[in-house]
């Protein structure tokens, strides 16, 4: 049977799992001494070590540490167990046991990774081998805490395409039909003087002068003024994002801010502007105590305020911690569902999705909306980007999705450094939170519900998350554009999109069907939400890792089979009727039918 040769699911070294699936292509490995290093990657040390595998028990092997990764291989079992972990994925390194503890493997190292797994090693007591490894790991896993550079700045990787060019704000706004007679692009923030966490180019109402913007900035937390994220081509309704107004305990008002929001409302004649405050009502009220708050009814007469009840970063961090407890190393069997429920992880996903659905629904029915939370860089980014994904099919393409991330997350200052803690040893930092992971999970839920609507596949989402932590690329480094500029990120590091787009075929969903004007509304019910097993439980060897979904495989098989039959049929036709070799000019319609149907198949879906 003919089957197309398909690149294996995990050709990226990152995805090598600890499992025994050595049959996977990715594990095609040379002897340990010559692990394929990345350009710019340097060997630091190697040592004999014991890996305490939660599934296979203690395994003797060799660990190999570079300035980028921890690589372990054990030939104790067949197939070999291999670990390949970028050092930046490590969140915490601890010594376990020691001289006073009993047992065989008492000199232990416990490594907590940011990607839902823990690694335990045991070392020999002699020669301070544990101390040496510990110190090296600590130094290279947390370079920022040691005044060293992140690997992204050391990498010498070269790609054909420069991924940094994927997002050009002006091009993207032009694609949306901007500027127009209601909306203009302003360069007021060219030097980050208006707002140091916003990008340089902003889209604001045509009617609002730069002076107006400055006055509005005084009333918005961190000067994150309401600016346009997206405009609906037909009804001109917009999604505007910002931070909370600085209302405070005394209930301050700001005429400029009030007028500014009304200008936004007027732009497409929306009778009532809807302000989505992502927070639960009580939290918004509590924020008044610290100078923040929400838009009051009396001050904003032509607006209605809706709270979306999405919890803060601390709640989300705690929820993911609980989730990890029930999936790693062992998956709860008998009480799986109630354990899953008690983590609330999917419930938070449901709230974020249903918030985004409300935003998208409002906009597609012609009303403009304003979205904010406290500072407008966590929940706000989730809501605007998900709503845009529902509304605009461009963002559902491979490249469009990259633009969406660059725009709503990276350029608008989601604080990646603080939320992920790149290269920082302070694992208990309260600023850390899996907000971006939660967003990617929401996207995954959407791809599950609409398997033909996205050009990219699950693999892209997993690779994005892996490189969210890996620090191999500059894409997710730093908190905002101004800091990125100061660090010359674009010239000194490689973009993740350079790598992705060099191998785009491995990230393409074969079932993708172009439907340009379609709004996607996922169903935000627990009946449809499911745990993303292929991400959260991928280290568990009992979950079969399929190199490719059976559906994709079958689809490619059938495509190949069809091509083969068509070819044979044509050959037969030729031999049958040698007088008319040009099939396409033949008067019998049947001869051309197979070909016709092929082109037909690609278009209608």
């Amino acid at each position: 049977m003919a089957s197309a040769s398909i690149p294996a699911y995990s050709s990226s070294p990152l995805e090598n799992s600890s499992s025994q699936n050595a049959s996977r292509e990715s594990l095609r490995l040379e002897p340990l001494a010559d692990v394929a290093l990345l350009p710019g990657e340097e060997r630091v040390t190697d040592k004999d070590i014991i890996y305490i595998c939660p599934f296979a028990g203690a395994l003797k092997g060799k660990v190999f540490i570079t300035n980028y990764r921890l690589y372990f291989r054990s030939n104790d079992v067949d197939p070999s167990v291999i670990l390949d972990v970028p050092l930046s994925t490590i969140g915490r390194v601890e010594k376990m046991g020691g001289a006073s503890s009993r047992g065989e493997n008492s000199y232990g190292l416990d490594i907590t990774c940011k990607d839902m797994r823990n690694l335990r090693f045991a070392l020999k007591q002699e020669g301070h081998s544990r101390r040496d490894i510990f110190e090296l790991l600590f130094r290279y896993a947390f370079p920022v805490s040691h005044g060293l550079q992140l690997f992204a700045f050391l990498s010498q990787e070269k790609y054909e395409e420069n991924g940094w060019n994927i997002y050009e704000p002006v091009d993207e706004y032009r694609r949306q039909g901007l500027p127009n007679d209601k909306w203009r692009i302003t360069f007021i923030n060219e030097k980050y003087e208006l707002c140091d966490t916003y990008p340089t180019k902003l889209v604001v109402p045509y009617k609002a002068s730069d002076e107006d913007l400055r006055r509005v900035a005084t009333f918005r937390s961190r000067s994150r003024i309401p600016v346009l994220s997206w405009i609906h081509r037909e009804n001109q309704a917009v999604i505007v994002r910002c931070s909370q107004p600085l209302v405070g305990m005394s209930g301050k008002r700001n005429k400029d801010d009030e007028r500014y929001l009304d200008v936004i409302r007027e732009a497409n004649g929306t009778p009532k502007l809807t302000i989505y405050d992502a927070r639960p009502n009580v939290n918004a009220v509590a924020n008044k105590a610290t100078g923040g708050g929400y838009e009051g009814d009396d001050a904003y007469q032509n607006a209605e305020l809706v709270f979306l009840d999405i919890h803060n970063i601390h709640v989300m961090r705690e929820s993911l911690r609980k989730l990890k407890d029930i999936v790693y190393p062992n998956v709860e069997e008998a009480h799986w569902l109630s354990s899953l429920e008690s983590t609330h992880w999917l419930e938070h996903i449901k709230l974020v999705l249903s918030g985004a659905i409300q935003v998208a629904d409002k906009v597609s029915s012609g009303s403009s909306v304003v979205v904010h939370c406290s500072d407008g860089w966590d929940r706000t980014a989730q809501l605007t980007s998900l709503a845009m994904l529902m509304l605009d099919s461009h963002y559902r393409t491979l490249r469009g999705f990259q633009v969406l991330l660059e725009k709503e997350w990276i350029s608008f200052g989601h604080k990646f450094t603080s939320r992920i803690g790149h290269g920082d040893k302070n694992h208990a930092d309260q600023e850390r939170s899996p907000i971006f992971l939660q967003f990617i999970d929401c996207v995954w839920q959407m791809t599950k519900q609409f398997p033909t609507a996205f050009e990219f596949n699950e693999r892209l989402l997993v690779v994005i998350l892996d490189h969210l932590y890996s620090c191999r690329f500059g894409t997710f480094l730093f908190n905002c554009e101004s800091v990125r500029d100061a660090n010359a990120l674009r010239s000194k590091t490689v973009s993740l999109w350079s790598m992705i787009n060099a191998d785009s075929s491995s990230y393409v969903n074969p079932f993708y069907t172009v439907e340009s004007s379609r709004v996607l509304y996922p169903v935000a019910s627990m009946r449809h939400l499911e745990l993303w097993v292929m991400y959260y439980i991928r280290w568990n060897p009992r979950i079969r890792q399929q190199s490719q979904s059976p559906m994709e495989q079958r689809y490619r098989e059938l495509l190949a089979l069809r091509d083969q039959y068509v070819k044979k049929l044509e050959e037969l036709q030729m031999s049958e009727d040698p007088s008319s070799p040009h099939l396409t000019n033949n008067s019998t319609p049947s001869a051309t039918s197979p070909r016709q149907r092929i082109t037909h198949l690609h278009t209608p879906f």
Binding site: G291, N312, V315, W336, Q449
Partner: protein
């Protein structure tokens, strides 16, 4: 009135079957003038009808609906809308429409009195008739009819009529199948019915078993418990066949290619001092052991698996989550969805049954021992386990005709008591026997199917439809309590058949329910037939079936040589009695199946070989299609797995057409081929519940969850914190 199932004995004479109460006869004489009737089936009679009745649309809480006529016939409760129905339906059932409920399919009826809802339990409702009637169906549809627009007299009659015909005990002869007449069609998928010795013979040849066929029960002389034809180990002596009326007799199910086999038996009630029975059982075990290598493992399933009562209890709780009649309830129950599912215990029962099946598979596949499973009747839990084992081990049963043959072999010929388990006849004293055992089996099959899609020729739609068909009173397949009852009802010369022989079709005659196009939904496009390898005849013995993984695959020790040990000891014990009751062994079987599963997992997956289910928490899932198909809130428009499946099906159809063309060409018989093959329909966007619930109007507005927040009780300390509170303070 009618007593059936007493075998050759004389049944009491039934001269008149009364379906109707006297008042109904009156109403039938003067049928309402403009009432529309559905197209009646041959043999179908209308008992009563009422118009106008308002049928609420499920979509929302508003009391909107459609007016029409509500009827009750000897086959169904039917609703005929006054409005024109949109005809475009992809998956139309030929027997009953989407507003019809076959009488057997009615699960429960509620009367709505103003805002109270009362469960109706018996036919005669003394007090005033309700203004609303809510019907919950066994296929999980929910209907709500408003009775206040019609004349009070009519409303009372239709309500009582429906309650009477749906809930009151009835005799078997009243089941519509006995009135229905239909000329059987050739089946699309040839199904072995296991009615004849020939079928059993073929099956034994196919599996290369070497047991003996017993044909002496043609007229149930040996025992009414036993099938007409059955297979027992060679060593069983003839006088043992009917020693305890067939109890305790090991019935062959299937032979593994190594020679060991699976047997099932009902258990002999045994008192301590009953040495005769004990000796008999010892002898039976010995006989089974002699089938292969003198080894046998035996287990009484009723001691280790949830009983049929527990199954019933769990399913009763479970199904409530899907019989939802308004949006408020839907979103209320969404909050605690996962824990509700878990608390019903249904999914855990599925897991336990699959687990047990894996244990049996391990004995056959890895240890090559004979296995004898037992339970009280030998026709409930044994059927589930033996069919699951065969499904995992034998790829033939994963084809569509193979699966149908398996159901025939283990369930129909095997004598599963469908009648009482489904309580088709609503006998009050049979209520404690009611249990969805067959549905449990289909659930387990679905779990295997969703984990190993490419291994199955049939689709989940097929399984869903099959589970519905159990409650369609037209088929002989799921109607009877035993093989004996079935045979005596079908035989034309039977003294009981007053109304002629039963000539109703088997469920496998799918054309009775669906046209050919709809039947295409039964085919799983992921399934690819095993490529046929040309093997030189001289080289290898002829294989009657595709072998599952060779046993040797498991004997290569990977790390701990646990299988090796077994085989060594096996050789040593070749001549020893090796009879163990493995449930009695002190060490739990769990760890060993885990290793067995993991050893299997390390091998490359062969969809035409042994397939084992993953039983970890996230792997056991909800059968979304069956349970959620009627709930409008969960329909994903233009999405769902169906979007991909239909793409595959379309492509598959194309490939098959091309292949056919090629074959015609190859023969060169036709100069003009059969025209241009029909172009693919421009892709229609389906909903995720496609092909079910197709007539619902599309809504382009999203469903927005309500009361999502109440549930989320997070520790205050965290929730009250602000994202960046330390910094915000400085801003004030």
């Amino acid at each position: 009135m009618l007593s059936l199932g007493t075998g050759g004995g004389k049944a009491s004479k039934a001269s008149f079957v009364s379906y109707v109460t006297p008042e109904e006869i009156k109403s039938e004489k003067e049928p309402p003038k403009k009432n529309k009737h559905p197209e009646l089936l041959p043999g179908e009679v209308v008992f009563c009808s009422a118009n106008p009745i308002l049928k609420f649309t499920q979509d929302d809480q508003s009391q909107r609906g459609v007016f029409g006529t509500l009827l009750c016939t000897n086959f169904r409760v039917a609703f005929v809308s006054d409005e024109e129905e949109d005809a475009a339906q992809h998956f139309k059932n030929r027997l009953y429409g989407e507003h019809d409920i076959p009488l057997m399919c009615v699960d429960s009826i509620y009367g709505g009195y103003d805002d109270k809802k009362k469960l109706i339990t018996s036919g005669l409702v003394k007090n005033k008739s309700p203004n609303k009637m809510i019907i919950h169906c066994k296929d999980l549809r929910v209907f709500q009819f408003c009775l206040t627009f019609t004349k009070e007299e009519d409303a009372r009659k239709i309500f009582q009529g429906i309650v009477h015909h749906c809930l009151e005990p009835k005799s078997l002869k009243c089941v519509f199948a006995f009135s229905y007449s239909n000329i059987p069609n050739p089946e699309r998928w040839a199904t072995t019915t296991f009615d004849s010795a020939e079928d059993w013979n073929q099956e034994m040849k196919r599996t290369r078993g070497w047991c003996k066929i017993v044909t002496g029960n043609e007229n149930f002389e040996l025992s009414q418990r036993l099938p007409q034809v059955f297979i027992v180990p060679k060593a069983v002596s003839e006088e043992d066949y009917a020693k305890f009326q067939g109890l305790g007799l090991p019935i062959w199910c299937w032979s593994h290619h190594t020679g060991c086999a699976l047997f099932k038996a009902s258990s002999v009630p045994m008192l301590q001092e009953d040495t005769v029975a004990q000796a008999y059982m010892e002898r039976m075990l010995n006989d089974v052991a002699q089938n292969h290598l003198y080894s046998v493992k035996t287990e009484d399933l009723s001691e280790t698996l949830p009983s049929i009562q527990e199954i019933q209890l769990a399913y009763t709780k479970f199904k409530q989550f899907f019989l939802i009649d308004n949006t408020t309830d839907f979103w209320m129950s969404d909050v605690k969805w996962f824990s509700s599912l878990e608390n019903s215990g249904w999914l855990d029962i599925i897991r336990q049954y699959l687990q047990k099946a894996v244990e049996v598979v391990e004995c056959l596949e890895a240890e090559n021992t004979n296995v004898l499973i037992m339970e009280e009747d030998g026709t409930d839990l044994c059927c589930v386990i033996s069919s699951l084992v065969q499904l995992m081990l034998d790829p033939y049963f994963r084809t569509l005709p193979g699966f149908q043959s398996l159901v025939q072999k283990e369930w129909v010929a095997g004598g599963h008591n469908f009648q009482d388990r489904c309580n088709h006849l609503h006998h009050k004293d049979k209520e404690q026997c009611q249990s969805p055992v067959f549905l449990l089996f289909l659930e387990c099959v679905w779990q295997l199917l969703q984990q190993h899609g490419p291994g199955f020729q049939f689709s989940e739609t097929y399984l869903t439809v099959l589970s519905d068909s159990v409650h369609v009173p037209v088929f002989s397949t799921f109607l009877f309590s035993s093989a004996c009852q079935r045979v005596s009802s079908i035989r034309a010369d039977s003294p009981q058949t007053q109304r002629g022989a039963l000539s109703c079709p088997a469920v496998w005659d799918w054309s009775v329910q669906f046209d050919r196009k709809a039947q295409d939904f039964f085919i799983n496009p992921l399934y690819a037939e095993k490529p046929v390898k040309v093997v030189k005849k001289s080289h290898r013995p002829k294989h009657q079936r595709q072998l599952s993984l060779p046993a040797s695959a498991f004997k290569t020790p990977s790390k701990k040589s646990f299988f090796k040990e077994e085989t060594d000891s096996l050789k040593k014990m070749l001549r020893l009695r090796r009879i163990s009751r493995w449930m009695l062994s002190p060490d739990s079987p769990q760890p060993s199946t885990r290793e067995f599963y993991e050893a299997w997992l390390r091998k490359p997956l062969d969809y035409h070989g042994l397939l084992l289910p993953c039983l970890s928490g996230p792997a056991i899932r909800l059968w979304v299609q069956r349970y959620l198909r009627w709930l409008p809130e969960v329909q994903v428009f233009g999405g769902g797995a169906m979007a991909v499946i239909s793409r595959l099906s379309e492509l598959l159809a194309q490939v098959q057409e091309l292949k056919q063309q090629l074959e015609w060409k190859g023969h060169r018989q036709e100069t003009n081929h059969r025209g241009v093959p029909a172009h693919l329909q421009p892709a229609v966007r389906h909903s995720s519940v496609f092909p079910f619930a197709s007539s619902r109007n599309w809504s382009f507005r999203p469903v927005i969850p309500t009361n999502v927040f109440q549930s989320l009780l997070v520790p205050d300390s965290l929730a009250d914190q602000d994202d960046e509170y330390t910094e915000v303070v400085s801003l004030v």
